[in-house]
Symmetry: C2
Subunit: 136 residues, 2 copies
């Protein structure tokens, strides 16, 4: 299942992209427009900022804004930051590889074999989509 964190994060990014301008948008405005708990959204926007997707401005007239063009924001990187590894198993992860304790030979592991294909197909989708592609 997709976490609410990812869902809300994606919606927030989409909203910021759809606004068009680079003017800061307040958390409250995003939260209200997308029906998200403001405090929860707050923490999500914070991680998006720390990972280079958003800029922020404090105080009156402050808020969050996109740092890059929507068509430069790949879903691969967004998903990795919000949802974590794209692979469903660490042993097929490109960026977060880890060997399974229980598995003596990855080459013969059915789970490995299947999840490798799932990872590749998901990766292709995320690579083909930028934030710009998700705006209707």
């Amino acid at each position: 299942m997709l976490s609410k964190k990812t869902k809300y994060g994606l919606k927030a990014l989409t909203y910021l992209a759809s606004v068009g301008t680079r003017e800061p948008v307040q958390i409250a405005e995003i939260a209200e427009h997308e029906n998200i708990s403001q405090k929860f959204l707050e923490s999500i926007l914070l991680t998006l900022r720390r990972n280079g997707f958003l800029g922020s401005k404090k105080g009156k007239g402050g808020g969050y804004y996109l740092i890059k063009e929507p068509n430069e924001i790949l879903m691969t990187s967004v998903m990795r930051v919000l949802e974590g590894p794209i692979a469903m198993v660490p042993c097929v992860s490109l960026n977060f590889y880890e060997k399974c304790d229980d598995c003596p030979d990855e080459g013969k592991c059915s789970v490995h074999k299947l999840m490798l294909q799932v990872r590749d197909s998901a990766l292709e989708v995320y690579r083909q989509n930028t934030l710009a592609d998700l705006i209707s």
Copy 2:
């Protein structure tokens, strides 16, 4: 992330398929061979049986065995039973559709748009793989 339940369930199915015969295989043997907690595996095999993948036999010489040919067991059905819906969001699920509370218009939702593609690509992988394909 793939749950351990799914991982272990897949491994158990693979093991039963690789054995080849339709002779019952004891839980203990599967658990030992695949490095799985026996008691946990027990509950997993039970749900696989209840969902029509396995047959079982009690008492001496008992155990679990495949009911169908490995090439007739599609990963779509295995994954749905073990892991749940293939879609990452209920609003793009074929078998478990549910509308989002927070989303006024699915057609305009960026999450919906992206997850629809992810579902389709995952579905294609699962449809192309039977249990027989996962045996090396």
